[in-house]
Amino acid sequence: MSDAPLVTEALINPATSRAARSDFAVRLRANSEYVVIPLLALAIAAALFAIFLMAIGKSPVDFISYVWRGGFGTSFSLQNTLQRSAPLILTALAVAIPARIGLIMIGGEGALVLGGFASAALAIPMIGHVPPLPTLIVMAVFAMAVGGFWVGIAGYLRYARGVNETISSLLLTYIGIAIMNFFVEGALRDLTDPNKPSTKPLGKAYMIGTIPGAEVHWGFVFGLALCLALYFLMSRTTFGFAARVTGGNFRAALAQGLPVGRLIVACSAIAGACAGLAGFFEVAAIQGRANASLAAGYGFTGILVSFLARHNPLVIPAVAILFGGLVASGGLIQRRMGLPDATVLVLQGLIFVVLLTSETLYGRFSIFKPRGERDRT
């Protein structure tokens, strides 16, 4: 799945005009597979969920109308959705980039928590001495560095010691959360608040605001920009090419003399930096301080988003917004339909299972194959 061609690749590399046209048609046909199958999977998941709803005596039409109203239908709902999708975009990138090099890294939550905590810890002595803007920049860079280091450890262990990166990144998440709790409940605790262990607050002046005219914080814009930048990095640079070669065939990459170890650690570190940045925004745009609330599960939902986007940075925002909308409307669904909160989780789980199952469908439909190649296997 990590070697999935990207839709837009069809638009590049025109040879001659005639050849280009037929080339374009062939590529469009081949690439449409990567659009049609996920959409089909979504539709099947929706159908299964509708059956589930009817089984418990609720109307699927109600459900859809509330998802629309609660997630997209009003200006408030749409901003709610975008705000909720912001951390998901960044944590999905934390899964998508290592996936390109063949690693299933799921440690975004830990990098988010540690990155957010580190930025808050660094900011405390700067407040009042350094103006807000440089403070925020230093915080963001530090959060990315810490997050990158954290997931980088899992990458390094993978390359140098052969440790399964999925397990190690997950376990590092729990260590990361424990480290934050250790400091937040100990040395860095704000003693004026006896009941919720937190670092000292940043204060309004040192918090990053919302996008002018909207109630969506800047994390959303940075997430979109990073998606574009990382798409470019992974698809249009030698670094990205080398990473994809490594992901496609590790031994071939080694035989070609590619710096496999450095590539793996670099991709892991980029992933961690994305999640760390998400942590920075949680601290600087939302919480205003670091505490246990940073571990809100964005890192785990990001895994789902990345898989649904087939680890394509350009598709991640759309999927993140879809999930943001589902979560945003989850409240309205609870309130109006009297359904438990787990309902939306059931839908998410169905989407994930159907999507993973649909992986086996690729290459099975002759309609997506170029005419000349249909008989080949």
């Binding site: 109307s59 039409v61 109308s65 408030f76 709610n80 709790n181 919480q287 609330s293 909160d341």
Partner: protein, 372 residues
């Protein structure tokens, strides 16, 4: 074939009902709003049936729904992030909520404060004593119950139920409200049984089911024959105690069904007193009180009805303790020493609601365990 037709019809019917329901639903909401009925929005941090903190609120909210003219909208599992701001705003914007009850500690700063500033016509009340009259919006406020009073009653009953004189306490974090519950439990036990000690284990977080079970087991192994706790969901602790054949006291909500043999009583909030008060005030267009805090004297806390583990003399002593607390009989009768250095930390007798006690950061002599 007929089966397929039926299912298709069923589907169409459901769909039609759905559309009709949606339109009716919206119409009803609009009418309700016009008739100035009160819509109360409630946010919970966990599940409403957690046998703990959230359930205590949900039980009261269920009773609040019975009040005529009150419509309730509820959301559970809302994390302490901007998600809670958005949930509250959504209740205001889409459901027309006029009163928001935010029931988790971490909702207050900055979320309740920010949303309250943004919607000055909506009342916000938060379940922890955090509202500051100088800095916080006037349409926000706090309500809180001094659960340590009910833990004191637990302690009285437990002190007369133990044979080993060792009581076990599984606690989440060493913060003021938890420490006060432990200390009160110990003082309650010692008031009837001077030989009683309370052994405490901190799990480090609010919800750690595995560690809670381990702690409960360790306490039983150490000879404790009554176990109680202060964690978000006491289910695991109470069930473990029951399985090990020892007695137990509950916390937050009723856990009596979990321990049919060994349950003595439990410390419970009685939020309905506060919630009904809010509904009555709003119905009469009165200003809501900004700060409510109290214990037995205000009817904000209660003890679970006695279970099979409570002996007649324990029941009698516990009821006498409740009567005392209703008459504001103090729990902390000084001087009292801490359990670490033997230093006097409570120099005199304090009223049960004295703010000095809210800053507690020590365990008293009689408690075995450490805050660090």
């Amino acid at each position: 074939m007929s089966a397929r037709e039926i299912s298709r019809r069923a589907l169409l019917r459901t769909a039609a009902f759905g559309v009709a329901g949606a339109t009716l639903g919206m119409g009803a909401a609009g009418r309700a709003f016009a008739a100035k009925d009160l819509t109360v929005g409630v946010v919970y941090v966990g599940a409403r049936d957690d046998f703990g903190w959230n359930q205590a609120h949900a039980v009261a909210i269920k009773a609040l729904k019975e009040v005529p003219g009150v419509k309730v909208v509820e959301e559970e599992n809302v994390p302490e992030t901007d998600a809670v701001s958005k949930s509250m705003e959504s209740m205001i914007n889409l459901d027309g909520a006029g009163l928001i009850l935010a029931t988790s500690f971490g909702y207050y700063k900055p979320f309740v404060l920010d949303v309250a500033k943004k919607y000055p016509d909506v009342e916000f009340r938060h379940a922890a004593p955090l509202w500051n009259k100088d800095t916080d919006p006037k349409n926000a406020g706090s309500y809180f119950g001094y659960l340590n009073q009910a833990h004191y009653v637990d302690g009285v009953a437990a002190g007369l139920s133990t044979k080993t004189n060792k009581l076990g306490f599984v606690a989440a974090k060493p913060i003021a409200s938890v420490l006060s519950n432990i200390n009160s439990f110990m003082l309650g036990a010692r008031s009837v049984n001077p030989k009683a000690t309370v052994q405490v284990i901190f799990t480090g977080d609010w919800s750690m089911p595995v560690r809670e079970a381990e702690s409960a087991n360790a306490l039983v192994d150490a000879g404790c024959d009554v176990i109680t706790c202060h964690v978000d969901g006491p289910k695991v602790v109470i069930e473990t105690a029951e399985k090990r054949g020892v007695k137990s006291c509950g916390h937050n909500a009723s856990q009596a069904p979990l321990a049919p043999k060994g349950f003595i009583t439990g410390a419970e909030y009685k939020w309905i007193t506060i919630y009904k008060g809010y509904a009555t005030d709003l119905a009469a267009s009165k200003t809501l009180p900004n700060f409510l805090a109290g214990g037995y004297e205000a009817d904000y806390v209660q003890n679970t009805p006695f279970g099979a583990g409570a002996s007649p003399e324990a029941q009698k002593a516990a009821l006498a303790a409740i009567a005392g607390l209703k008459a504001r009989k103090p729990i902390y009768v000084g001087p009292l020493k801490d359990n670490k250095t033997g230093k006097v930390v409570i120099d005199k007798t304090y009223d049960n609601l004295d703010p000095y006690l809210d800053k507690m950061d020590y365990l008293l002599e009689g408690v075995v365990g450490s805050t660090t």
